[in-house]
Symmetry: C2
Subunit: 354 residues, 2 copies
């Protein structure tokens, strides 16, 4: 006799005997149907009678029913979870992507499992195996073959965001970094710069490699000498700061510096001003990549290539939607164009000067 309100009596949401949440059984009892019917109503099964579905749905809502992700996942073999592998916290670009992507996934009723690690990305494998996410999005991590192999085996689709590796069976959503680098070279050449240089971020990252390649190619196309581009450090302020000092020790006549990303560029600017006594852009032009919020702040007013973050997120969501429909279909690779944001850290071409 612990089953109060067995008739049409409106049972309050929390009125059940046992502790714990409302289940399909509770809803079935109240709506006077079987649990199977409740399940069908909830999943928009086309075979259910319109009227029945409405009644069940209403009851469910009234009782504050929420499906149990674990029970559902166990039977459907879909977790409703997207694993987001993220590590880089020195570049504000990534937190912003993380939060925006998470919000979009929530709208699709998908949950974001955040995974981070130290040292090697493979340290995140145990967590990934336990969760068995429907999909993995990797933000700016350096992949290893062993790591990628795991996903081939488990048939978990993987989306590489902002970096890519060749030969992997993975979707890719990237800015077209090479075109972006070329854009910068053309612009600097047009403004009359003659001694370009590139300060690297993480040497092995595809972003760094592509930006540098595009920049070197663009400089060559414009008839400029090959830029000084000493081996890289990392995508950090310190790398930019130290890189700038080292650069001017080697090549003091440098008049234009393109940097691996905005954080590196800001480090380079600070070194130019605080250590080298250089004026920007009179003595040296500096250009970054990303267009993080700081780039627009007056203290740096950084000319940079804006990554099409929103378009990249849109593409990622589209790819996730596509992958959800278990059709095989080869993973797609997308490279979206960036846009040069003209600010005060680089000299303007003659024709554009006031």
């Amino acid at each position: 006799m612990d089953d109060a309100g067995k008739d049409g009596v409106m049972a309050p949401a929390g009125g059940r005997a046992g502790r714990g949440r409302i289940t399909v059984r509770d809803v079935a009892r109240e709506a006077k149907v079987s649990v199977a019917t409740v399940s069908r109503a909830l999943s928009d099964d086309p075979t259910i009678a319109r009227e029945t579905r409405e009644r069940v749905l209403e009851k469910a809502k009234e009782m504050g029913y929420a499906p149990n992700l674990f029970a559902r996942g166990l039977i459907t073999r879909k977790s409703g979870i997207v694993a987001l592998l993220a590590n880089n916290i020195t570049n504000p670009f990534y937190p912003e992507v993380t939060v925006k992507l998470t919000r979009r996934l929530q709208e699709m009723n998908l949950h974001t499992m955040l995974i981070s690690w130290e040292d090697s990305v493979e340290h995140s494998l145990p967590a990934l195996r336990q969760i068995a996410p429907d999909m993995v999005v990797v933000l700016a991590a350096t992949m290893t073959p062993d790591f990628l192999k795991h996903f081939q085996e488990s048939e978990t689709p993987i989306i590489l965001f902002n970096r890519y590796v060749t030969g992997a069976r993975a979707s890719v959503v990237c800015c077209d970094n090479e075109a972006g680098g070329a854009l910068v070279a053309a612009r600097l050449a047009a403004a009359g710069h003659r001694r370009p240089a590139y300060i690297q971020g993480l040497a092995t990252a595809s972003t760094n490699v592509d930006r540098m390649r595009g920049f070197l190619g663009g400089c060559e196309a414009a008839g400029l000498p090959t830029p000084d581009a000493a081996s890289g450090g990392d995508f950090t302020y310190e790398a930019g700061y130290d890189g700038m000092k080292a650069l001017f020790a080697r090549a003091p006549s440098t008049d234009a510096v393109f940097c691996g990303n905005d954080i590196v560029a800001i480090g380079a600017m600070d070194a130019a001003r605080c250590e080298l006594g250089l004026r920007i852009p009179e003595d040296v032009s500096i250009v970054g990549f990303d267009d993080i919020a700081m780039a627009a702040w007056p203290s740096h007013d950084l000319t940079t290539v804006r990554q099409p973050m929103n378009a990249m997120i849109d593409r990622t969501i589209a790819e996730i939607t596509r992958l959800q429909k278990r059709e095989p279909g080869r993973p797609e690779q997308h490279f979206l164009p960036g846009r040069l944001m003209i600010r005060g850290s680089a000299r303007l071409p003659e024709t554009l000067r006031p």
Copy 2:
């Protein structure tokens, strides 16, 4: 007859007939025990024979077994998931906490579900109800009574990190913001400042309120006039930039400005230099709160109160560990002391000047 290798034959990890992962049944078959015994071995059940456990564990490892979180969660009613509610991406303090906390949780074999939202925090309730996390950590969100009520009802422990609300049944881990504000006041007074001001962050946030209260109290204790502290905007660069301009329009003789946090302070510094033509610290001292990485960069060299981030994370982990042992125990509230980081944006006391 789909059951290959039924004898002692070493079955390769992926050698089962069906697609999909290895389960307790597979391990049980290979180890020649029941699934119950496998389960006991995996969960360090004390009633299992030492030798049996070792054999099972070895087999499990050999076969690459990983427990299914969903099946386990369904039966134990513990999800192994900590929900992390985070929204603020303008302040790098939070991404850093997010990543560090996630790593620590992973070490404890807990998973981090990242939840973000727009507008009201209550928009995250549907996701929370589906996941049913073991615990919720809230990073810097403005709570509402309705939202907190949900957790009381579902008996999900909640930890407020870096902000708190009074009267809620929630654990709290915070910097002692009031003491921090007082520290700043004392320091500025000792350095001979006479016209202090405070630029607010988000007016309703406990961090803002406490820092301001501590600062005003400290000024009074030091015999300084009550600081100008116009109504706040938000914890943003723009709030600092605009707040500084407005402040000097109202009170041009201000000689020391304490800001709601570092981002606000950096905005204030940029406004001082770029808009007001003021030298820092000769014309005006500026102090922040948080000690984000940028604060130490030469371009701003910001004197600030460092939040004890690692200690706060340690406390949070300790609280999570405590809460995992379903003992009731009232939620604990911890306020950890910050530390003044002396840099170049604030004048030094006479006795300390070179």
